[in-house]
Subunit: 351 residues, 2 copies
Amino acid sequence: SREFNAAEHQHVRYNPLKDEWILVSPHRCLRPWSGHSEPPPQEQPPDPNNPLKAGAVRANGQRNPNYTSTYVFPNDFPALLERGPEPPQSDHPLFQARQARGTCRVMCFHPNSAVSIPLMSVEEILSVVEEWVNQTKELGRRYTWVQIFENKGNVMGCSNPHPHCQIWASSFLPNEGRIKDRCQKEYYTKYNKTLLVEYLEMEMEKKERIVIQNTEWVALVPYWATWPFETMVLPINGGPQRLTDLNDQQKKGLAEIIKLLTTKYDNLFSCSFPYSMGFHGAPTGPDHTAGDSPHWLLHAIYLPPLLRSATVKKFMVGYEMLAQSQRDLTPEQAAEKLRNCNHLVHYKNKQ
Amino acid sequence: SREFNAAEHQHVRYNPLKDEWILVSPHRCLRPWSGHSEPPPQEQPPDPNNPLKAGAVRANGQRNPNYTSTYVFPNDFPALLERGPEPPQSDHPLFQARQARGTCRVMCFHPNSAVSIPLMSVEEILSVVEEWVNQTKELGRRYTWVQIFENKGNVMGCSNPHPHCQIWASSFLPNEGRIKDRCQKEYYTKYNKTLLVEYLEMEMEKKERIVIQNTEWVALVPYWATWPFETMVLPINGGPQRLTDLNDQQKKGLAEIIKLLTTKYDNLFSCSFPYSMGFHGAPTGPDHTAGDSPHWLLHAIYLPPLLRSATVKKFMVGYEMLAQSQRDLTPEQAAEKLRNCNHLVHYKNKQ
Ligand SMILES: O=P(O)(O)O[C@H]1O[C@H](CO)[C@@H](O)[C@H](O)[C@H]1O
Ligand SMILES: O=P(O)(O)O[C@H]1O[C@H](CO)[C@@H](O)[C@H](O)[C@H]1O
């Protein structure tokens, strides 16, 4: 019997942040593709009624200012409202409902509808980072969880190509935050080390899953990545637990690494690379104070659906929904492809 | 302050099978839709090279027999192989890999590429049910988990419109099976009742989430449904733990309710309704025997992505991936819409 080679032989890997496993089937990369193709991502013509534009009138009749950098406003169709009647005490363990309070905001990154993060300057991205910090500070005073997320591209359900993200803050700790909080706490109790600090140290030695790094941040494909080109962006210094812990160096470094990583993404398949991205940090709200969650390390997550080209995505369906996530390409192979992608010149700016 | 009304006011609901929550925002049903539309589901012309057809030659050079009912063969590009080298013992808790063994099969439902489950007769669907039972029996001798699943429609990554499902059997208990096993076991230990038996009894009294039923089975929208028109199909009698526990009455009743439910689905938006569906039952393999898992109740799950029409789906992206599943329409509203849909005449068979 031959020797095990992770790039060749099937296995399952453990995700210690979420206490779950993923099936890795590298031999399946040979499969020919005959399935569904997405329509090629179109350069959408600017929509004259685009409600995110500077000066536009939105659904509720309000007019946006002529903003020149970032601009934040309340989502006109929020999934979470600040108040509402409380559900009655549930009387059976199988029919449990609880109160949910929150707020949803939209944040435009830039007045120009035609740019995206990788096409913005580091200074412009720095304004975005600074606004993410402000929003987390303000909403984190009242709410337990402040979820910043960007859905990019039609295939990720993004309803408007104008560069923007959303911020949903809630009175409850959502599933993902709850599980990561628990797993990191258990690790900290058991080993007296911060899970992700230890993980990052080991990855910086191993090097095989690192995509790019600067003096403050590392972007890598996690050992337990589920999406083909999933990455995680981790801070090297000082163990920030939340976005509000970042110093000026870290903010600037974050803006820079985001530009480099998303340029690589766009260059991988020469398209505006779709993804959902966001930040995870320690819970917030009145019960929390800076530095109180040493088991946490702030990190950004990029979840891009593309698998083989601009039009072929990985479907997380049948087996994945009913049993377990599965991937063909190994995380190490994905990291190598991204590492080898140009991050200095965006494909749109090439002659 | 007004009284709480689940059809109007936001709340979170608990899924006791998976120990997670879902955000319900019924007030958001008023949101106008300006996002991505799927291409309308096309009636694909029969592909002369369709490898699932009776008599076709497949990628590996083998020829299918001229089958007239169901036909099962090994997947030519399996994500799981029966054997392979074992990964070495992992030496760190953050880098855990384990052996995965298994097998992947494809099961054609019918020789006619143009039919789908709701267009088949109850007798034809009964042959499918019987083959599901056979496969579970055979593969369940060796493997811990036998996952039967059907991906239906382009939007669910289905690469071939010929009516078929897949069967992936594995040496490991996948995440979904592991979590449901744990949650049902904990409930059984605590209350000395089978979670889903108790749940079904209460739903049959409440009636508000029931879509359709016959003497053996109930199809309902679970209280904790995440997808807009998600349903669960549960057996009324005898508490079968696995597909292999079904008696003839139950098999026939299952074929019938599947036809009725999928006819409702197709009629809801007058299209071949896409979904991933599959079965969950107690773990199998050499360590298990019939009747050894009284905390389990066998059930089928339908996870359909459509939200508003044949071309507008619910995207489980940004907030859902990074924080928690969210729905607008309540499970009760979804059940009512499905209940009111015709299940006797398929829209394609109407004059
Ligand atoms: O095997 P298929 O139909 O080609 O593939 C489809 O189902 C599989 C199992 O859910 C998924 O892993 C694939 O991403 C999907 O495209
Ligand atoms: O708010 P949007 O961009 O219209 O909506 C999009 O993102 C939301 C948050 O991830 C999802 O709930 C929606 O399904 C998706 O279409």
